[in-house]
């Protein structure tokens, strides 16, 4: 059981660091246990990002808060074309959190970081009184380097470019929602939470036509597309029937009255790619285990600047808006 003293800086803190964090995260930078990790200078420009993770339930089908905290920050780095190198991990723990739960989370972080080839080089732990936090909050900060020939930005988008998604939409959001609310369906919903750096590296190392990438986390596919269209001042056309959505996700969205285009993903990205490279990028994605369900879902156009237009399943075109407020399930 986690006690306040685990965050007090004394013996229990020391034990937590050496028995748990150092044990699972061990690497040459962390193991020195200095006040700051001292790192070699990377080869190119740096990418640097931070994110805090709060989720309920902390363990869910397909992942847990630890895996999410590692993947989320790795994916943010990957989206700008960086190769993720180092992470820090800051924990706010609620007094009374079972030690076994913390260990399971730390172990999951270590495994995910290892899988992604990233090292967790610094960290911090605070414990707050019972009721002051919800079990565990994690912040991860990540650093990566960007090879000099990469310049991904919405400014690079051109009319005629193709819009690709790396896989099915809505898996994470629906898995977590249904588990949190105890909604059971005949199908299993599993979060797509995954580190995307190897998939991103597969396309960026082979194809030069990738203009920009974004991961559709909170706010979902629609929000990210609208953000990009507005940032570049061009229009996007999306085919509803081309967007891959797993049957169980679709059914649970329909049942609750939610729009899958606004549901969160944690292991997918959108890439906007030159027309010349689009087919090849799609094939590279589909050859990778994390990109098998990648699809081309639309294109960039000069018409209707800053608007994302969806061609619905009935062939009708309508404007897609950003997520403005949290989606609420219908009553009726």
């Amino acid at each position: 059981m986690i006690e306040l003293a685990h965050g007090g800086g004394g013996r229990l803190t020391h034990e937590l660091i050496s028995h748990l964090f150092k044990h699972y995260f061990s690497n040459v930078y962390l193991d020195l246990l200095c006040d700051a990790a001292v790192l070699p200078r990377p080869k190119g420009r740096l990418a640097f990002t931070t994110d805090s993770y709060v989720i309920q339930p902390i363990f869910f089908a397909g992942g847990d808060i630890g895996k999410l905290a590692v993947c989320g920050t790795i994916n943010d780095l990957s989206m700008v074309g960086a190769k993720p190198l180092y992470l820090t991990a800051g924990y706010i723990l609620e007094e009374g959190l079972p030690y076994a739960d913390l260990e399971r989370i730390v172990c999951s972080m270590a495994e995910t970081a290892k899988e992604a080839g990233v090292e967790i080089v610094a960290g911090d732990t605070k414990v707050v009184e019972r009721g002051s936090a919800d079990k565990i909050f994690i912040n991860t900060t990540g650093m990566g380097w960007i090879p000099s020939d990469r310049n991904l930005s919405p400014g690079e988008i051109r009319p005629g470019d193709k819009i690709i998604v790396s896989g099915s939409m809505g898996d994470h959001g629906m898995a977590v929602l249904c588990q949190r609310e105890g909604l059971e369906f005949n199908t299993s919903l599993v979060s797509d939470c995954a580190p995307l750096n190897s998939l991103v590296e597969a396309i960026l190392s082979r194809h030069s036509g990738v203009r920009v990438m974004r991961d559709p986390t909170r706010g979902g596919l629609a929000t990210v597309l609208v953000e990009l269209a507005q940032a570049r001042g061009l229009g996007f056309e999306i085919e509803e029937t081309s967007v891959p959505v797993h049957e169980g996700v679709r059914a649970s969205c329909e049942l609750l009255g939610l729009d899958v285009f606004y549901v969160a993903n944690e292991g997918k990205f959108i890439a906007i790619v030159s027309p010349a490279d689009a087919e090849a990028v799609l094939r590279t994605l589909q050859d990778h285990p994390l990109g098998r369900e990648a699809r081309m879902i639309g294109q960039v156009v000069e018409n209707h600047p800053k608007k994302v237009v969806l061609r619905t399943v009935l062939g009708v075109r309508r404007v897609m808006e950003m997520l403005t407020a949290e989606q609420l399930p219908r009553i009726c």
Binding site: V313, G315, V316, R317, T324, Q327, L328, I331, C332
Partner: protein, 365 residues
Amino acid sequence: MKFIDEFRDPHLARVLVETLREHTRQHIRLMEFCGGHTHAILRFGIRALLPPDLEMLSGPGCPVCVTSSAGLDHAIALAHIPGMIVATFGDVVRVPGSRESLQNARAGGSDIRVVYSPLDAVALAEKNSSRPVVFLGVGFETTAPGVAASILQARQHGIKNYFVLPLHKLTPPATKAILDGGEVKLSGILGPGHVTTIIGTDAWTFLSEQYGVPIAVAGFEPLDILRGISMLVDQVNDGHARVENAYSRSVLPQGNRTALAIMNEVFETCDAEWRGLGVLPGSGLRIREKYAALDASKTFPVSLTPSHEPPGCRCGEVLRGILSPVDCSLFRHTCNPENPVGPCMVSAEGACMAYYQFGEKRLED
């Protein structure tokens, strides 16, 4: 059979649309009663497929939207009672009352929990046995049986701290009120699929018999809706108003007798205040005397100051079908999902939310 793709078949939709275009030979004004229909019609872009002479108006079928400010104020007053837990469907939390929303009350320290089913609220009461838990009974005939079941379950399990604030509304009286009001002349009504699954198509026979107005009950997939509209156009053409069922995989003439029996065991009809429609006789449900101990409106007397609508809000007119959301001067600028002025911009079934989210503009190829 997957129950989704089959009812979204673009080829079949085109066939139905072609027939509709051929058969629409005069101006036809239909009302979709249900907010779920409004959402589906806009989300799939069905409006753009309809012939120009076929007009669709949104009706009062959004349970959160028709809950009066007085009802919301009552719920919010309960939330301010120290130690109280208020459990509710998520839609209700953000709807502005006369002075504040439940969300504001929560920020001020009230304990408000979003649940997906009234039975979750019973479980919440079981878990927090030292505190009263009030479930806000908002909804039409679709949710009322579930809420009635929660009352029966609490009684059966001896759970003494579970209560319901009954704010339920019945749909046929509201439909009557719209027709009696005479503000809009309707050629037909697209009937609510989920409500009618409970009450049955027989509950709508008064429309043809007393008003000569056609109704077709429809589900919520594109083909369901197009088929329902198609039935209504044909009824208009042959001049013979009747009750038709375009949702036979869910709806029976007599409805769901078990659900109706549970509802009837716990509730009895009463007059109720609707936003936009005023007090309608026999349009609400109150908890019967034998279950009075679970009635939050009786157990927790609260003093309520007079309620009023949010200033400038025209949700009432939207609910009566006389104002399209896009014609409200507050729409999009002053009133949007982030800062909703009225309930129609909050609820997943609200017409304003649907018009905001799914865009009103037609984009021609």
